[in-house]
Symmetry: C2
Subunit: 348 residues, 2 copies
């Protein structure tokens, strides 16, 4: 037992059949007699046989392995951990396993990781690309016919599938909610203008604003780093305008927390004197004070859906790129002033 692994040939010998028959049993082929199947299975259990997928995989050059790769840009962000769980559930029930790797936003690391996954023969890839990923980075993958689903961030020009959350609808809903509370000067705060996600979120804001009496005003868009510090700085800028905003739709939750900090520094209480809406619904949003009104994006759902898209492509022969959008929803909490007794009235 100790020396050498037990192979299909050992099983064949012990069960008194040929290796071909054992192979058929392994694949649950209907060609093999029930009683033979039983015997073979018994012997396999007895000898502690473990299937060698590497070898199998080598033979069937056409059909690919039962591995899918998932690479994320920041696993410490619980958003991506949830996403990975979503992927895992569907992928696992399809008999696949997942390779997971973290790039920490490094494009070099991302290249290495993807190369390594190819060497291991993944049949498909789910990628949340590191910042700065270009269409050309995806090129070798599509050339090799490996299905790819991009999540969260899309890469303009890449001929692969993508699944991003409905950023446009999210900020749009935020604006509508704020106007329904009586706000008219609503700022869009935070984020770097050169990313696709920023464009989409801004465009939702712009569209909703242009349907208000006030209309869209360029001056109310204040970009900054997409961080807490960025939020502080941006709101400082906003509140120094002649005609101050009374509400802010923020690029993400981190910015929104920064905005709250900045407001307090000016003796303005977020949720009471000023309405703040975030984006992402990070875990702290619920427990922060005031609890943050934000846009929730269901990372686990995205993971599941991305996995389904990927499996579909793997099963279809030719990978057919497909663009999808995942719904978002507004979570109303305290920071917009709507959750208290006298919603928004005094803010207008």
């Amino acid at each position: 037992m100790g020396k050498g692994r037990v192979t299909v040939i050992d099983i064949a010998k012990a069960a008194g059949v040929s290796k071909s028959t054992v192979s058929l049993v392994l694949q649950a082929s209907p060609l093999v007699n029930e009683i033979t199947r039983g015997k073979v299975n018994a012997v396999m259990r007895e000898l502690g046989y473990v299937y060698n997928r590497g070898a199998a995989n080598l033979r069937q050059a056409n059909a690919r392995s039962k591995i899918i790769g998932i690479v994320v840009n920041d696993l410490t962000n619980s958003f991506f951990a949830e996403l990975a769980v979503g992927v895992d559930t569907v992928v696992q029930s399809a008999g696949f396993v997942q390779f997971l790797s973290n790039t920490s936003e490094s494009i070099d690391r991302q290249r290495e990781v993807i190369a390594s996954m190819r060497e291991h023969g993944v049949s498909g890839l789910i990628v949340s690309p590191a910042r700065g990923t270009e269409a050309i980075d995806m090129k070798p993958l599509v050339a090799a016919g490996i299905p790819v689903v991009l999540v969260v961030r899309s890469v303009p020009g890449a001929k692969v599938s993508s699944l991003v959350s409905d950023n446009h609808a999210g900020t749009s809903a935020a604006v509508e909610h704020l106007t329904s509370l009586g706000h008219r000067r609503i700022a869009f705060v935070g984020g770097f203008p050169d990313t696709a996600v920023f464009d989409e979120r801004l465009s939702g804001y712009r569209e909703a604003m242009s349907q208000t009496k006030e209309g869209f005003k360029e001056e109310l868009v204040i970009s900054s780093a997409p961080s807490r510090a960025g939020g502080v700085e941006a709101i400082g800028q906003g509140m120094s305008m002649a005609e101050q905003p009374t509400a802010a739709v923020c690029f993400n939750d981190a910015v929104a927390f920064g905005v709250c900090d900045g407001l307090r520094a000016r003796r303005i209480e977020p949720g009471r004197d000023f309405a703040v809406v975030g984006f992402d619904n990070v875990i702290e949003a619920k427990t922060a004070v005031p609890a943050l009104t934000t846009i929730s994006v269901d990372p686990q759902g995205i993971g599941q859906r991305a996995a389904q898209m990927l499996l579909k492509q793997i099963n279809a022969g030719k990978p057919e790129a497909e663009q999808a959008v995942s719904a978002v929803r507004l979570i109303v909490r305290e920071s917009c002033g709507a959750a208290d007794n006298n919603p928004g009235r005094r803010l207008a």
Copy 2:
């Protein structure tokens, strides 16, 4: 280019050498002439060669693959996400990749996942076992000579390595801190008595208490589900005692939050009228109100260390089981009343 993958033989043909030479280049062997090496590398780049680890792996039956598996019981818990990141950093720089799977505390799922990983030929496994895992579940792995490092939870009787955090020292430090603040009736709250982690945390509490003037009192140990709801229930029980406790060391942070909820429901303000200490330092601990005093366990560090232990075993021929303990530290925040101006005095 489209049809069939490019193999070592294609490279050999194109470079005018034999496949053996190409193989040597692949392994960076010093036997091959510099200029040949250059040519071969150039051709590989040109034809877009990707190494087939499956095939390589098949041939070298002795040396194992460059894959390590990591299975966790709850990836949505950010603790484990951090742990996975820690593993990833060290494993990746050693040229390995990681399979990651989530068991959601299901022992069946865990069995499947481990089987699947074996089929893929992992060279080692890092496992945070699902509740109820027994030594026998690890048996086939040690029989096959596959190194395993158990993390977070140990499995009594399993002949594999383990790395757990120093639960004993953690609760012990918590008790000492509370007594230094003047507390004498300190309860131990939450957790199910049948787990190893519970035993360790309780024993740290017991030891520290028995060194106080009061001594250890069985009545002050109140177990419950290790959840927020469990905490609420347990503290209710605690506060209905004739002689009420003035402080609680909780099984984990979730319980601690529940204890705070339960106290407030009784008009007792945690951090001012009663001291609460958690365990784990989950991400919300910092932002909660009051900010939670707790024991921090550095999940990323545990991941790194576990990976190092595993690699050591993989590189050594024979896997030598080794038990290790990871240090913890007390993070003092507001919930124990020590962080305000008049620490603890009024509580005694």
